[in-house]
């Protein structure tokens, strides 16, 4: 298994590489690139909403196409791909002391299939009719009938094909991550000694394996409705005065399949982000993560209950109204493990020695945005309160803060945190902090006002608000403020990219463990670690992942691969 000394060509080393670290970088770069496309799309939407009618190339059709692509790109092709494919690939083998993934070839294949799905997705911008404008939720009949929505020809078909390809990629990746965690841990690395990042990615990947098949099935059926004129989701309908030769299908069936995937998908993104945030917060406050065991149990609980809450997206869909009681209760129960995690991050800071570097700032930003994003899920889960709020801007504010901004806080923090290990160089702290403050404050300015618009009853996915007669006159001004904030926050992401690229080439040389962290990836013999990671011997693990500031120890951290001796006490928590 030790192929780190193989002689390799440029192609097998950097392009068709089977090294998990190279694949991680490929995933990350591709995801950030497509995320940048998603960001520009959000700018276009905000330009229309802030300055309606000023930008002539934006019409209702193109607006709904932009809206649909933005949603799908950000949730699936950016967040899911970067957290599992990027962080999962880089961190799992290094953090558990393995030389690589369990199936390196499958891992490589997973990336190239992902790239293919991105190419098919982007191709939709260049086909006749453009990409689909049926909303990222792709609800039929809108997404299934000819001319019902923009992009109902090529656009919707390419979207569904791209999703099916993505799911193939995610399945290859997911099987790899789960198997590697279960089978490839180094000596001494018990499950309850794993860093929370690995736990988050592991549980998130397992959820992806169980959730994506529902989208696969729904996607294929919708593709058949589109291509072959089947009626899985189409009842008897009259479109523009014409009876269509379709009947017998049920649109709600698709919604159940979609959300049986769609809600766990939120946790596929959030659990790895929670794990990464835990690493940031513990390392940079020089304290063990508070309540490690509770953190693991909370993630497992979120994963299990996360499969029992999907229909809270369907409270006003026309499903049997008695389901509302069950799904409201299950949804609000999931708030308890989520709250436990928030408390434990706060209590990790408590009596710590907080380092205000860029990764820690993003860790703090994660806590704050996860709090507001998570809390605003409660009214939406409390079935009767959802009735007025459903499909309003309240929902837009909620999921952007919890799944978009909070997840990105963890992702940005994680990229800065592991940048020295990945590149062997330090990033620029000043630019990093600028990136943080603009993004963090700007995100509040963009999304907090949306809660109030939602309470007022402003529906989401509106090209403009001219028809609404109950809006205060100041609403136009508020939309301009939100748009300007969105433009500035977007520009701050350019600072981030410049920092990454410049620092990767010109940054100050990094030590192998610049944060004085305990986990194994910081203990590699060389930085960046070579193919195979560990030199002659894989490390042996003697303690849990969070021996920070252990009383009696000489230094304020003890790496996991340091044995307990009289001078280096085992500080391991009693619960582990």
């Amino acid at each position: 298994m030790s192929h780190h000394d193989h002689h390799q060509s440029f192609w097998t080393r950097y392009i068709f590489s089977q090294d998990h670290k190279v694949i991680a970088i490929q995933y990350t770069v591709t995801a950030l690139f497509i995320g940048l496309v998603g960001l520009v799309l959000s700018w276009l939407m905000r330009l229309q909403l802030g300055f309606p009618g000023e930008f002539r190339f934006l019409n209702p059709g193109s607006y709904y196409q932009i809206l649909t692509q933005h949603g799908m790109i950000m949730i699936v092709y950016l967040l899911t791909a970067i957290l599992l494919g990027g962080f999962g690939n880089y961190l799992i083998p290094l953090m558990i002391g393995a030389r690589d993934m369990a199936f390196p070839f499958l891992n490589m294949l997973s990336y190239w299939v992902y790239l293919l799905s991105v190419i098919v997705l982007v191709a939709a911008f260049f086909v006749p009719g453009g990409p689909t404008g049926a909303g990222w939720t792709l609800y039929p009949p809108l997404s299934a009938l000819p001319n019902a929505a923009p992009g109902s020809g090529w656009g919707i078909k390419l979207m569904l094909v791209s999703l099916v390809i993505f799911i193939a990629s995610a399945t290859m990746g997911g099987l790899n991550y789960v198997t590697t965690v279960l089978q490839c841990r180094t000596k001494g690395m018990t499950l309850m000694r794993m860093p929370l990042s690995v736990w988050g990615i592991f549980i998130g990947a397992a959820m992806a394996l169980l959730a994506f098949p529902a989208l696969f099935v729904g996607g294929v059926m919708l593709l058949l409705d589109n291509l072959l004129g089947t009626s899985f989701f189409i009842p008897a309908v009259t479109l523009f005065g014409q009876q269509l030769p379709r009947e017998g299908g049920n649109p709600l069936l698709f919604q159940h399949l979609f959300w049986y995937f769609g809600h766990p998908e939120v946790y596929v993104v959030i659990l790895p982000a929670m794990g990464i945030a835990s690493e940031l917060i513990a390392t940079h406050s020089r304290k063990p993560i508070f309540g490690y065991k509770a953190m693991v149990i909370a993630m497992a609980a979120i994963a299990v209950i996360g499969f029992l809450v999907w229909a809270h997206h369907m409270f006003v869909s026309g499903m049997n109204p008695y389901f509302g009681f069950f799904f409201a209760v299950s949804t609000l129960i999931i708030a308890i493990p989520s709250a436990v995690k928030v408390y434990n991050w706060l209590l990790t800071l408590w009596r710590g020695k907080i380092q205000f570097n860029t990764p820690m700032l993003f860790g703090i930003g994660w806590i704050s945005t996860f709090i507001i994003g998570g809390l605003t899920g409660l009214p939406l889960g409390n079935v009767i309160a959802d009735v007025p709020l459903h499909d309003t801007y309240f929902v837009v504010g909620h999921f952007h803060l919890v799944m978009g901004v909070a997840a990105l806080m963890a992702i940005f923090g994680g990229i800065y945190h592991w940048f020295p290990k990945v590149t062997g160089r330090m990033f620029n702290e000043t630019l990093g902090k600028l990136h943080f403050w603009v993004t963090f404050v700007g995100a509040y300015m963009i999304f907090f006002p949306m809660f109030l618009l939602g309470i007022l009853g402003v529906p989401r996915r509106y090209f403009d608000f001219e028809a609404l007669q109950y809006l205060p006159t100041q609403t136009a001004g508020l939309n301009i403020v939100i748009t300007i904030a969105a433009l500035i926050v977007g520009a701050a992401q350019v600072v981030f990219l410049v920092n990454l690229i410049w620092s990767a080439v010109r940054g100050r040389r990094a030590e192998s463990n610049p944060w004085h962290a305990t986990t194994l990836e910081w203990q590699t013999p060389t930085t960046p670690p070579p193919h195979g990671n560990w030199g002659a011997e894989t490390p042996t693990v003697y303690r849990w992942a969070y021996d920070y500031s252990v009383p009696g120890a000489e230094r304020d951290f003890i790496p996991q691969n340091v044995p307990a001796t009289p001078t280096v006490p085992a500080g391991t928590a009693r619960t582990v």
Binding site: G133, I364, N382
Partner: protein, 265 residues
């Protein structure tokens, strides 16, 4: 940096509260019986508001108080089951406080009174149309396969109950203080019938009839909008809702076309 970070967090909390307190964007004035919905929503917003303020201010305090200082070392505190149990207890209590009235209100929302006046709402790209039961109080049968330019609601003319049904292609008129049960249909894609002042909303799904009920409590002109993306006209799919005295309502209704007079097979 720690002082700055702490101040920014406090300012975010203050700014958020100020924006709420400005009252510019808040509930539209309620015009239906659903003060229970407002109540459940306000309790929920109150609970999460308290949590939002408390947790963010605690975070601001922590980063100020425990910023790295040379002489201090972090304390090794891996866990504290007692604190954890107390916090779980408080969280569970908060959830019960907001969920219990919510479920109670929901059970009323899904139990329409027997004497409610039935009105059918039919959505299509991109307008709302309405059908009233007429003197017999019964909506005639309808089927999507019967829909044609001459029979836009797809009414089954063979059904005697259909003859006296009354059609409105533009406005929804309702008598004040009388319970109304909507039967909601769609001809093409999914729409959602939402009247913000009444707080109620339900999707219009082709192939199904969905329902909700309410009592308009205030005469006036309101607006029904579409709340489910339904194509390029989604943002323009709205309709006037006029709540008036019973006499005025009946006067208006008498002027609208009936099925017998206008619908041909």
């Amino acid at each position: 940096m720690p002082v700055f970070a702490s101040v920014v967090l406090v300012l975010i909390v203050v700014g958020a509260l100020a924006l709420v307190a400005s009252g510019i964007w808040w509930f539209t004035p309620l015009a239906s019986n659903w003060n229970e919905i407002d109540g459940a929503l306000l309790i929920t917003l109150g609970v999460i508001g308290i949590a939002f303020v408390t947790l963010n201010l605690f975070l601001a305090y922590l980063i100020l108080r425990y910023r790295a200082r040379e002489q201090e070392r972090a304390q090794f505190i891996p866990d504290n089951p007692k604190i954890e149990k107390i916090l779980i207890g408080i969280t569970a209590l908060g959830i019960i406080i907001l969920l219990a009235p919510g479920l109670f209100a929901y059970s009323r929302f899904i139990s329409p009174p027997r004497d409610a006046m039935i009105v059918e709402v039919v959505g299509e790209q991109w307008r709302w149309t309405y059908r009233y039961a007429g003197p017999d109080g019964k909506l005639g049968r309808a089927h999507p396969k019967l829909i044609s330019p001459k029979n836009p609601f797809g009414v089954d003319i063979a059904d005697p109950a259909a003859q006296d049904d009354i059609l409105s292609y533009t406005e929804l008129h309702l008598p004040v203080n009388r319970p109304v049960l909507l039967h909601i249909r769609s001809k093409d894609v999914i729409h959602s019938f939402f009247i913000p002042h009444f707080r109620a909303k339900m999707d219009a799904v082709p192939g199904m009839v969905t329902h909700y009920w309410f009592v308009p409590t205030r005469a006036g002109k309101f607006q029904a909008v579409c709340a489910e993306l339904c194509g390029i006209g989604h943002h323009r799919m709205h309709s006037p809702v006029i709540v008036e005295s019973l006499e005025k309502f009946q006067e208006w209704l008498a002027k609208q076309p009936t099925v017998a007079a206008t619908v041909k097979p």
